[in-house]
Symmetry: C3
Subunit: 469 residues, 3 copies
Amino acid sequence: MSSLVDPDLLFPAEPSVRRIARELYGLVKSLPIVSPHGHTEPRWYALNEPFPDPAQLLIVPDHYVFRMLFSQGVRLEDLGVPVLDGAPVETDGRKIWRLFAENYFLFRGTPTRLWFDYVLSDLFGVTEPLTAANADRHYDAIAECLQREEFRPRALFERFNIEVIATTDGALDDLAWHRQIRESGWQGRVITAYRPDAVVDPDFDGFAGNLDRLGEITGCDTGSWAGYLDAHRQRRAYFKSCGATSTDHGHATAETANLSRAAAQELFNRIRAGSTDERERRLFRAQMLTEMAKMSLDDGLVLQVHPGSWRNHSPSMLKRFGRDKGFDIPTSTDYVAALKPLLDAVGLERDLTVIVFTLDESSYARELAPLAGVYPALKLGPAWWFHDSPEGMRRFREMTTETAGFYNTVGFNDDTRAFPSIPARHDVARRVDCAFLARLVSEHRLREDEACELAPELAYTLAKKAYRL
Amino acid sequence: MSSLVDPDLLFPAEPSVRRIARELYGLVKSLPIVSPHGHTEPRWYALNEPFPDPAQLLIVPDHYVFRMLFSQGVRLEDLGVPVLDGAPVETDGRKIWRLFAENYFLFRGTPTRLWFDYVLSDLFGVTEPLTAANADRHYDAIAECLQREEFRPRALFERFNIEVIATTDGALDDLAWHRQIRESGWQGRVITAYRPDAVVDPDFDGFAGNLDRLGEITGCDTGSWAGYLDAHRQRRAYFKSCGATSTDHGHATAETANLSRAAAQELFNRIRAGSTDERERRLFRAQMLTEMAKMSLDDGLVLQVHPGSWRNHSPSMLKRFGRDKGFDIPTSTDYVAALKPLLDAVGLERDLTVIVFTLDESSYARELAPLAGVYPALKLGPAWWFHDSPEGMRRFREMTTETAGFYNTVGFNDDTRAFPSIPARHDVARRVDCAFLARLVSEHRLREDEACELAPELAYTLAKKAYRL
Amino acid sequence: MSSLVDPDLLFPAEPSVRRIARELYGLVKSLPIVSPHGHTEPRWYALNEPFPDPAQLLIVPDHYVFRMLFSQGVRLEDLGVPVLDGAPVETDGRKIWRLFAENYFLFRGTPTRLWFDYVLSDLFGVTEPLTAANADRHYDAIAECLQREEFRPRALFERFNIEVIATTDGALDDLAWHRQIRESGWQGRVITAYRPDAVVDPDFDGFAGNLDRLGEITGCDTGSWAGYLDAHRQRRAYFKSCGATSTDHGHATAETANLSRAAAQELFNRIRAGSTDERERRLFRAQMLTEMAKMSLDDGLVLQVHPGSWRNHSPSMLKRFGRDKGFDIPTSTDYVAALKPLLDAVGLERDLTVIVFTLDESSYARELAPLAGVYPALKLGPAWWFHDSPEGMRRFREMTTETAGFYNTVGFNDDTRAFPSIPARHDVARRVDCAFLARLVSEHRLREDEACELAPELAYTLAKKAYRL
């Protein structure tokens, strides 16, 4: 580690607690990375081409970065973020980088700052804090690195000590990149995850066409409920053949339903016929979560639910820049009533794993820990998205552990598109967990030998086990 | 204390803060236990029989324990939890104990672990952490203790230094065990509390029959509103004669109502006639909270409201195992609108005490502290159930004190069926409060002499005062 | 500072963190006070008359003080709080003061206690903790001070090192005191802020008459939508001429609307005709927030929204004592849906500043930080009202910084009527922020040089910049 990342980063200041945290961290800092949920591109590992310039790699695609700059008056066009109608945006990586460097102070106190400093220092060997004054020098240093063999995706994958990484791919994806990776002979374990939103959510762009396409791909009759379900089964099997151990569902709410076969069929028919009734469309999404859980019982795929984000809150930003531009805003989310139909159906199954995430921290202690602390099928996903941060992860542990314990949680997800930041994100999570454990030990709530057992479980084992990797 | 419970348990690591916490704890650790709200069996104190084997005492009846094991795939049958239809379950205490010991690591970071270690060590003299390897030895040691005179209920009551303990008994209960205790000449102060859910909640099993029975017991005409209210008054008086100083109400929400006499009478008639209108049934429960508060004004009983739990979330578990099996899940709970009718009616009364509990911590700072910080009749119950834990109690103090102060809170409730764990629970609460006060002192927000005054108030005096004991 | 306020007040106990906090605090403790939002009386600065007796200055008008005493059974009449119907109340300041002193222990752990001790010690030179025993002596000492020239409002303003203070004045106010201040030649900068609730909220007492009066004052036809909007524009311009840089809106919810001109006009006509339809009245308030934001785009006034308080929760207290008696209770507040119409209309404007406050801390991390962390027009107001306290401000930083950063926040508001407590309130805020920064530095999440830059920004610069002062 260089001077940008202190060896004691995120450890409590009190010397006796810090000593314990250091010791625990020593047990986990070099463990392989298990990344069971993320959004890196399989293409990168398949083609193994050099990454583009520093700005295109680190700034332009990272909505954590550009949303903060935008909130302070920086135009997205000046950061090189593409406009849907093709209007010109900044393409000079150096200019984008300078603009970022001038505004880097805005990230003080944010996890982006921690991740970014880690990447600068640990990956690119930069030792001086980024400022407007040294922006060009840093840019050159990084650009130089990116041209080298050892900064290509596969080399980084190995350098990062990634044992396995999952991408997230749509139900209609042919997984060609994944096949190409497997056929390439490269040993890196890159697996897929089944994300069927486009063929499950009637509000998804082009839903009807997506169902037609699903029929073509699978040879199933997606005009009928039975055929539609069969098509899912086929795709799930295909995804499994490309390594998938999980499915992922980005619904707006945690609502589930468990209709009779006849009622589900009738609902499907109305939805297939293009029903615009919002309640029916919601009910269909709700029903499909339960269907997916039932299929998981058969094929063993772990089901992940990520509810609670109001996507694309600003219509004019959506229109100009498209999705994923920082305008996804969390909302108050209910789980107790919402998950009940699914839990009534399959919640007591010991061979099923349903991992629930939340953006509403008020549900941690109130709803999610009590639910996960009793239903065998339910596990808690880690602190997610806005809460994937030191304070967020600390609150997660403080608010879930006493009711759900550690063993109903599933380790860390980096959940990121930002490939270079993956080690930074896991490092932050490991440090925060070690700091939490160190506090428990220092307050005699846990013995040190137990913390030494738990630290690697939180950093590594629980993720492998929960995701069946 | 043995090696399983460190003398500095739960005290902050920073030496100067720890020193203050220790000092404060020294003032309270030996204070008598006031337990104004709980669920131990009056039968135990009446008969004073030996407790059964270690598993039947410590595991089988404790839903904190078996729900966690169940969440990780252990079958309740294997833990000896009785099945309603009489299907066979494990009855060998030793086997149950071993299964528990093998899985004891699951409780790391939970309050159950703290309580359990305290019981093992302080009550049974066990000095070695429980593991699969020593399970049998621990079992034998505990079993041996349980056969001794000094481990009978009354002896433990005295050893625990319990000044007074309240049980919770249904409105139809004859309180025979309480009478027997009083007549026995034993000096232990075991009192009752009036819990009328079965005759107040139209959704309660056998509600209509319960009202008939209430009429028989009291000689009041529970077919009329006036007679029904009179019956409550009689029962309350009878409970008072068995020591009761409080009533307790486990409604699903905090909803209250304050109908005119005529409207209430009409509503009662519809309910008595078996109305299935859910709004009417809710309104009746709401109205009855206000009626109870008005009766409290007359007879001085303290009213406790415990809302916000979705009881028996899993219907198949309810059907197989019955109530109280860990499937009660907290929900988002409103107080500001819900309590208004009751507060409009009696909230300004200085001679009334209404104690409100919550399972929704987001209401602490937002609703409950502001309400208790102005209405003379309202006090805050302690951190409850899932939140009766170190982090939960810390959050309670951090989120309520600045608005409601300490003096609008009512000390600690152990709220437990697990008799042997009562000293452990009070000890944890005392330690957490001392740690909180120590932080205030160390940050010069409170003088040390004030903290020395407050510590015994939080541990002892406030409970006595609030519950009129 | 005297012995009542420790130099290390509110700093973490751990010596290395405390050292950093002290150092940061050293940079800000003497910075001028910028008070962009408050409720002091412009009359005080205009007339510069001596303040009345200690009780009338420090107790009778402070709802933080008397609500706590009331919650513990003290009658407001005995504290000198005026009754609307003119019934007699205590007028002997010394008696009121004694009653307060006897009950001063009730404030342990509250911010009122910190502020009060600061005032006693820093302003009045009292060195002994207030008790019943020394109440009279303290009273005499304060009373003696209040007769001196240097305790008159303008002298205190200067002694407090107030660079600028904003009062809050109704839309119909003639701002005569403000004009008098300006014409007096005194250099103290006292500005106004535009609070149009009385002419924007159809539920406001005398709304129709208020609109007539608005028409008279401005010469606009407030019988028409266009004239009504013009009247606002005129008043805003007039307020600007008396220094206003902001408007303030105390709506019950954060609801906004963005109707077409025709629909808005029609709605206005119905409201002007006295519509009693609650939905229409809500919609009108919602629409007016957006109208105000649009006017802000033109005239540069910063818009403040303060939603989420259920005003005058107790009707009998309202009837007897009037508004602002401690019975305003926070409620669960939505921002994501509520602010959308306004944000859709003007949220992307870089020249607009909308400052949002909340009483619902569960919205900090879930809603407000994500919104402020992307919309250029949106900034987060500081921890407010019940949350303007050490724990409240700490939670504010912990729950907003990681997503919104520091620079989407706007410094501190004292928001107070209690003029003598202004330095105390700013001091507490500065200390809490320094403690927070010190923790970040000690955990290597921020460099010390960055914290040294941030501390004065949080204490001084951000408020000036956000409020355009």
